[in-house]
Every structure is written in C-alpha cells, then in structure tokens.
Point group: C2
DNA sequence: ATAATAGTGTCTTTCAGACAGTATAGT
DNA sequence: ACTATACTGTCTGAAAGACACTATTAT
C-alpha cells in the first residue's frame, strides 16, 4: 500500500514533479583557514629558531576588495558535498592530501559580499610546515603565508541585578615581510535573566577582505580551545619532534609562555620516545619523540 | 584615483554588471534543535518528579519521509540573515523571544534531501520548560516534545604502529507517549601518522526523517560538552530553582548520576541564594537559588 | 669555559571523586 | 516514627602551577 499525500501523490510522483526553482537562492562558498607553525631564521649556531603561527591568504585580483587579502576558498557546486569542496580547495592551495580539516562556522549575513548573497562555510585545516615548503599552490605570488597573532586588548563587564554585559576587543595582526594587515573584533555577550546572546563584529580592519578577519579570529579561538583537550597539535608537527618544539607550537598558538617541567608532565602520555636525538646544536642534544597512538579516549 | 580591474572596470562598474545567476545553486535551510528539561508526573506527595531531556519534533505531512518525524526548520530567504531565519523558526515553533540559540554545524551531503540539493545549517536552542507549556506552536498536534536519550553502545579501537582506528556506535532514542523513534549512529576517527579524519554516519534509523538523527546526536554531544564549562544550563532552568533540580538537569543531559556534595561544590560559585524555600514537600524544605551574574570570565 | 638548551625533582595549591554523616519537613 | 529529601564535613588522590636544580653539547 503506497502512502499518498494530500494531493494524492505517491512519493515517486511527488519527487518526479517537485519543482525546486521557485525561489531565488543564495550562493554557497567555503572559506579555508589553513594554519601551520613554522620556524623563523636561525640566529646563531646555538640559538633555536623562533616559531610562529602562520595562515595562508590570497591577494584579490578583482573587485570587490581588490588588492586586499582574503582567505582561500571558492564556490560549492550543485553536485558537490560541502566537505569535498573544502578538500578540493585545500588540495588546490597547498597541494597536499590527507591533512587535518574541520568545519568551523557558517557565515550568513545578508551583505557580507557586495556582489551577491553568499553564505559561506568556514573550515580550519592544520598543516605540518615541513610538508609544505614545496609550493604554496600555483597562483604563486598571490598566495602568501602570514604570521598571525591575536590578543585581547580590552575587556569590560557591566553588572546589573539580573545579569551582565561583557565586551571584549580583540586585535588580530597578520604580517608577511613588509605587508601588515590588522583588524579589531568586538565580541559581545549579554545575559539578562534567562536571556543570553553572543555576537561578534568587525570594528576596524586594514587590508583584510570581506568578513574574513572575523573568521580568522573565530578559527584562532577554536584552535586555542581544541589544543587544550585534543591531539590536534600533532597535525602541525613533523613526524619526529623535540618536546621543546612541541612546547613552542603550544606557545605560539596560545600566545603565552608555558613552564617546561609542567608542560612535559602534561603531554608526556601523548608522545613516545623514538630513541633518536638531535645533533649539531651548540648545547645538549634533545630526544626526538613521535605521537603516541595508544593515547585516546573518545571520538569527538 | 579609482582602482580598475583587468577588464578596466571600477568597483562600481564591476558590481553593477555582476551576474550572479550563471550556476545552479543549492537551497539553504535551517534546522532547529530545541531542547528543554521538564518534569515528569509526581508519583507521591513525598517523591520529587523525575526530569527528562526533551526535544521538539514535527511530523511530516508530505513526501518525502511522510509520516516520520523531523526537526523543525525551513528555508532561508534570499534577503535574510541565516541567524535571523533560525530565530524566526524558533518564534514560529515555540512562540518565545529571547531564548538561547547557537549554531551547531552545516550539513552538506549531496543526497541528504531527495527533493533537491539542500544545504542545512543546524542550530541548538535551550528553553526553560516553565515558559513553555503555553503551546507548542500553532501546527499543534504535528509538533511534539520527545524525551531523548543517547548512549554509547559499542566502542572499538584498533591500534597500528603509526596510529589507530576508533569506532563508536551510539544509540539515540526518542519517545513521546506511544511513539518511539530511534537511530544508531556510527562515529569514526582514523589516525595514521599525521593524517587524521573523523566521520559520522547513520547505521540504522526508525521514524526520524532525513539525516536528522545524526544532527540530534551532534546536538546532544555539543550540549553535554558545553554544560561542563559554560553557564548554558541556566537557559533550561526557571529563574528560581533548587540545587537538586539543577543537578537533575545536569544528570539528564549527561546521562549519568552525580554525587550531591561534589556537584554542589562545583556549581556553588555560579549560583546565589534567594533566601526563599520550597514548601509542601514531605521532607526538609530546600533553598531556592538563582543564577549568579558575578560569575564569568570570557565571552566565548 | 661558556652559552644555550635539555631534562628532573619536589613543594604547594586546587579540584574531583567517594562516602559518611546530620537536619528537617509532612503525614 | 518514618520516609524522602536537604545539606555538610572530610579523606583521598590526581593534576596544575611555581621554581630550583642538574646535565650536556659545539664552539
């Protein structure tokens, strides 16, 4: 017995006659935040190179925001899974398969793109910089790795009897050689009785196209958060690394220094000794470690 | 001096002539997970009512999945912010303004809707059940509150020298009177060297339309997670509550029992005494508390 | 020898888990 | 008096923070 709807149609009849083109539809894109941690120049035979957190940006060659820098990304086609589209963009940009990627957030303000209504889903990807120096994609000198930093510059809390208002100003800075981009993001949280809402807006921006500075800030927040309770850092590390390198990766992501002894105690159970050592440094050699796959508890 | 692109157009000229309709576009919808915690029937003058976690579902009156239950939601129109669309759906379904809502995840498999290509952004909303019993929207008996539970039924970890495979089977059960819906979701995580990926799929489903069982599971995971480190529980509570009620809310969400003394120690700093007490229960009266707005540290 | 990093030991405080105990309303 | 809940005290062990100490290499 076939189920019929109120028009008397079976499911097959309904689907065959379904008309999808009645309404105007938004375009859908993916935006990629591709992070890596890489070494700066070596200062002396003794000193270790300084690490920094980097993100890939592309220079816009057309209106709007022409000449400014944007996140890599592109349109999702009608027969393409959105995650596949993100992987495709990743492959196009950094030309590596099988790298860590996770969905971040979908941005859907009406006027976020002056060309047309565009809803964009942002993804974060983490790449080991040693895999990378091959090439930054083929659109070569329009794609560059920017050193990125984010810091809280103001925090304000207003209390009322039944709630509070919280405001934070966060400054993000991107630099690559002489190019310096920056933005100030305002985050808001209101609590009044049982009513809660949070919101975020761009207060000031230099050289970063669209709402991409806000997306970058969102990604940094996620990365800082997840590094504390997951094993995602290892996506940013070569397969063998010293504990000091691992600690530096944590430090550039978190934006603060950690105490060595405590750090080691904390991550000890996630790594495994390889038996190998570094050499040719003007100081005591360092043990090389790998990720220890025995460690893990839940899927997400 | 006006910037011109490679076709010699200024930004205004470019935007005026921009044609957005070259490609076929997906439809975009929002799906709402509306959670509440509500009391069951009172068994005796002495016993406290049992709480349960509930989620609002609507019965589908048309193909596809006709007769099955789906999350409330709908299309985002071309000139509507996606968050606004979510608020609109919320208002339509539960008829309350100003309730907690956060974006969860965007689902973009090509064949997730047999009618057409539909990308859907899911939102989670938390409602205090005492505000609620007014009415469950106007599409009355097609919208029902289902008691929801989720539990891990199998966990498997396969180790290899450079990584591991993790599989988890999770069962979710929804019930409302005689109606019982269920699904089994398989979560996968693979780690092989630096290559990591996670994935999720529906293994078995009864009575839940589309990929909505997977979305519900995702929402429960998020709720369980966030309840541990944020103040979102208070969105599910009336403005005055006892600590036992608060503990019960935690317990139905986490799906496990907590020790009273420890629970109280942990949440003490988030609540404030009102000076009032419960009465008419066959046992010692209980202090009534409110949320303490003095507590808080960061916006997100 | 020295500079710069590698690596360890331990004290203190905080917090989570477990459990046992006392208190008090309504019938 | 009894039942069901309300509320408190304390022991334990694990983990986080702070800091001082020893070890080892290339020049």
């Amino acid at each position: 017995m076939e189920l019929k709807n109120k028009d008397g149609l079976t499911e097959k009849e309904f689907l065959d006659t379904y008309n999808d083109s009645m309404y105007k539809k938004p375009s859908f894109t993916v935006d990629m935040l591709i992070f890596t941690v890489s070494d700066g120049p070596r200062q002396s035979y003794r000193k270790l190179p300084q690490k920094s957190l980097k993100i890939l940006m592309v220079k816009r060659g057309n209106h709007p925001y022409m000449g400014q820098w944007a996140l890599p990304g592109g349109f999702v086609s009608i027969d393409e899974n959105i995650n596949d589209a993100a992987y495709r963009e990743l492959k196009e940009e950094v030309n590596i398969d099988n790298i860590y990627m996770e969905q971040l957030y979908t941005w859907g303000a009406v006027d976020r793109d002056p060309r047309a209504r565009v809803i964009s889903c942002s993804y974060m990807s983490l790449v080991d910089s040693s895999m990378l120096n091959v090439k930054a994609g083929d659109d070569a000198d329009d794609a560059k790795w920017f050193t990125v930093s984010s810091s809280l510059i103001e925090q304000k809390k207003e209390m009322s009897p039944k709630g509070y208002k919280l405001r934070e100003l966060v400054k993000i800075e991107l630099s690559c050689g002489d190019i310096c981009l920056s933005a100030i993001i305002k985050k808001k949280k209101n609590v009044e009785g049982r009513v809660r809402n949070t919101d975020s807006e761009i207060v000031d921006v230099h050289g970063i196209a669209f709402d991409h500075s806000m997306i970058i800030q969102y990604g940094i927040d996620r990365l800082r958060n997840k590094i504390e309770y997951t094993d995602i850092v290892f996506n940013l590390m070569p397969s063998e690394f010293t504990l000091t390198e691992l600690q530096q990766a944590y430090e550039v992501i978190l934006g603060r220094e950690l105490l060595k002894a405590n750090f080691r105690r904390k991550i000890m159970h996630m790594v495994k000794e390889t038996g190998k050592f570094t050499a040719d440094a003007g100081h005591r050699p360092s043990k090389l470690y790998t990720f220890n796959p025995d460690w893990v508890e839940r899927v997400f």
